[in-house]
Amino acid sequence: MDLELTQEQSQVQDAARRFLSRECPPALVRRVREGEPGEAAALWAGMAAQGWLALPFEEASGGLTVDAATLAVVVEELGRACDPTRFIDCVVSCGALIQDAGSEAQKRCWIPALARGELQVSLALLESPADPDPPRLETHLEPQGAGFRLNGRKLFVECAADADLLLVVARERGGVRLLALSPAAPGVELVRLRSLAHPHLYEVRFHGVAVEHEQVLGNDLDAAPHLRTMLQRSAAFLSMAAAGGTQRVLEMAIAHVRERHQFGRLVGSFQAVQHMLADAWADAETARLAAWEAVTELHSGESAECKVAVARCASSESFVRTCLTAHQVFGGMGFMWETDLHLWTRKAKEIEFAQGGAAPWRRRLAKLL
């Protein structure tokens, strides 16, 4: 057992925190949220220059082959900074799918571009407005000529209009396929959703979209196992981001009550306030440990699934709960549009809902019990 970062990981953490405090201030988070994803272009380029976009990939594909823990350090820092980019969706989720399921040619084509920040990919996974675990995919491929036609719709696709590629999960005969297509392709219709959480969510409709064989990942491959691996891995990293955000919000609340006076004394000296923050601290600390355990034990079989499920549920709940505690502590000073706290509150809901949310993990945990 060794429950702290290694020296090397601490250095990565320091560097990431310095970089993000410079390149990703709350003002930028706000601009992206109020405007378009393109506002984060300079940050994205900077992240590419730091090598972060190459972190999860094999060296052979142009990546850096770091361990999950180093990637987790970066993701935790992104969570702290309320990261307005598509890092988890594009790099951690789509990137891993391409790495795992893609052919050699596809990997050569997409991964180096992705790692350089020149290719933005969005995952098109969910279909039902309510149920993140559809019993059966409606979106499907049918053979047509030398290729396929794609029909169906996807929901909650992040930044679809600004993506270079959508990575679509679709059914073909009995199996599950992954295919990459441009959101600008004929027959693709984008409908903007308005969410309190993610600022750029879309419904994507496919009206007989032509798909070539080269756009389908791998060869005659059932993508379902890759999808499961990706979802588990991404859930662990979403937990890490939530843990980072939770810590930051708690620090903001503590800093506030150590400065603000009422009744002639510091707000932080009131027991009622201290106890709220003491509970928030225990919440944040245990959520962080759960996230770290999930990340470091990703490859340990069934117990990994259990730990990821615990982390996913614990961390997303704690993030939201800590934000709500912070709102109580800040009072009106956290409620105004121009103050920053609500940026994290929205991020907390964004992470909670991402990739179908924690609910499927609760159901999985119930089965594993």
């Binding site: 057992m1 060794d2 429950l3 702290e4 970062l5 990981q9 823990a69 987790a72 503590i254 009550v257 150590r258 510091l266 932080g268 000296s269 009131f270 027991q271 306030v273 201290q274 106890h275 923050l277 003491a278 509970d279 601290w281 225990a282 600390e285 245990t286 959520a287 440990l289 759960a290 770290w292 355990e293 990340v295 470091t296 034990e297 730990k307 615990v310 549920c313 614990a314 609760r362 159901r363 945990l365 119930a366 019990l369």
Partner: protein, 389 residues
């Protein structure tokens, strides 16, 4: 970051399990189930068996006959005992003996430590008084110097263990003229001393505790532990050793697993309780909360092994563990329905009535050992650096 136990630690856990499977008799298990948290003759005998194996000194330094094992290994050891409700001497072993090593005279060490290590001597805490609970420094039990002796008069309450321990670790006022927390001293004395009367206090949680009356009890000056008027410091040292053991998770895990087994067996509306989504939701929440506590326990243990002091961590452990105990038992009773109210010995009692027993005991966990409100003060003030009220 690495959350795994080493192969050596896994082997150690196996060794303890094998030993306990072999040596914990059905008769002992029966005694534990019916003894209302008072170790009976078999439990006392088993304490000596643990002593003979050298396991009571598992965390003690080698120079005192201990094994000097890491805190992680101690946690593994106590988890296995907790899972079986085995009496191991509690804070006599984990806190008071360690405090003796740090502050006691050589003669006191010789007098007490070897006997504690063999499982022959147990000490109860004499802190709380009728007028001094959370505000311990307001206590009024007096110890007055007369020649080579102290004469102690006063009353202690909630002196849990006074009816089965041989000695009491007593905090008394030695100098009423000093500021209130500076005039206190710790004494260690036999409960059989003339002038000591132990009376039972029965509680709603079945556990028996006591009040202890001290009427001109004469002890030699050598019964004082540490320097005169340094009692509050000595108590703080003891608390630092005790802290990490106040919020443990193994019993919660055991009650949860047994609750789970009941949910597999019991049926409602033609299906197992476990198949009811409402039940599943409740169980999932409890499982997540126990996992969080487990991680925090090992985080604290790991910190101790790194030479760090887990102050906020240990206080949070105590808060989480005690509140989770109340929640687990409350939710469990709701999940089980009508039979959830049945006590040990009743027909149809699930979990041999353990859930009901733990529910009744849980209020004590929340206020005992430093109320959860004081623990939260500690987290906020010592952990988060917030100012004192």
């Amino acid at each position: 970051m690495d959350f795994r136990f080493t192969p050596e630690q896994e082997r150690f856990r196996e060794e303890i399990r094998r030993f306990l499977d072999e040596h914990v008799s059905a008769a002992l298990r029966q005694e534990i189930a019916t003894s209302a948290h008072t170790p009976g003759p078999l439990a006392k005998a088993f304490l000596r068996v643990l002593g003979a194996q050298g396991w009571l000194g598992i965390g003690w330094p080698k120079e005192y006959g201990g094994q000097g094992k890491s805190m992680i290994e101690q946690m593994i050891f106590y988890d296995e005992l907790d899972l079986r409700d085995i009496h191991y001497g509690g804070l006599t072993i984990t806190s008071l003996a360690m405090t003796l090593m740090k502050v006691a005279s050589e003669a006191q060490k010789q007098a007490y430590l070897p006997r504690i290590l063999r499982g022959e001597l147990e000490i109860c805490l004499g802190y709380t008084e009728p007028g001094a609970g959370s505000d311990l420094a307001s206590l009024i039990t007096r110890a007055e110097r007369e020649g080579g002796e102290y004469v102690i008069t006063g009353q202690k309450v909630f002196t849990t263990g006074a009816h089965y321990c041989s000695h009491i670790w007593l905090l008394a006022r030695t100098d009423p003229d000093l500021p209130r927390h500076k005039g206190l001293s710790v004494f260690i004395l036999p409960l059989e001393s003339p002038g000591v009367t132990v009376r039972p206090l029965y509680t709603m949680g079945a556990i028996r505790t006591n009040e202890v009356f001290l009427d001109h009890v004469r002890v030699p000056a050598s019964a004082m532990v540490g320097a005169p008027n340094s009692g509050f410091y000595t108590v703080a040292v003891a608390l630092d050793f005790e802290r990490i053991f106040m919020g443990k998770y193994a019993r919660l895990r055991r009650n949860f697993d047994e609750l789970l087994a009941c949910c597999r067996d019991l049926r409602r509306d033609g299906r197992a309780l476990l198949e009811d989504p409402v039940v599943q939701e409740r169980l999932v929440n409890l499982h997540i909360a126990i996992e969080r506590l487990r991680l925090l326990c090992f985080r604290s243990a790991w910190m101790v092994d790194q030479g760090k002091v887990p102050t906020a961590e240990a206080s949070a452990q105590k808060v989480l563990a005690s509140e989770l105990e109340q929640r687990l038992t409350e939710e469990g009773m709701k999940i089980l329905g009508s039979c959830g109210q049945l006590e040990y010995g009743s027909p149809h009692a699930p979990m041999e009535g353990r859930l009901v027993g733990a529910w009744l005991l849980a209020p004590m966990m929340r206020f005992g050992g430093g109320t959860n409100e004081i623990q939260r003060d500690i987290i906020a003030q010592r952990g988060l650096g917030l100012p004192r009220a």
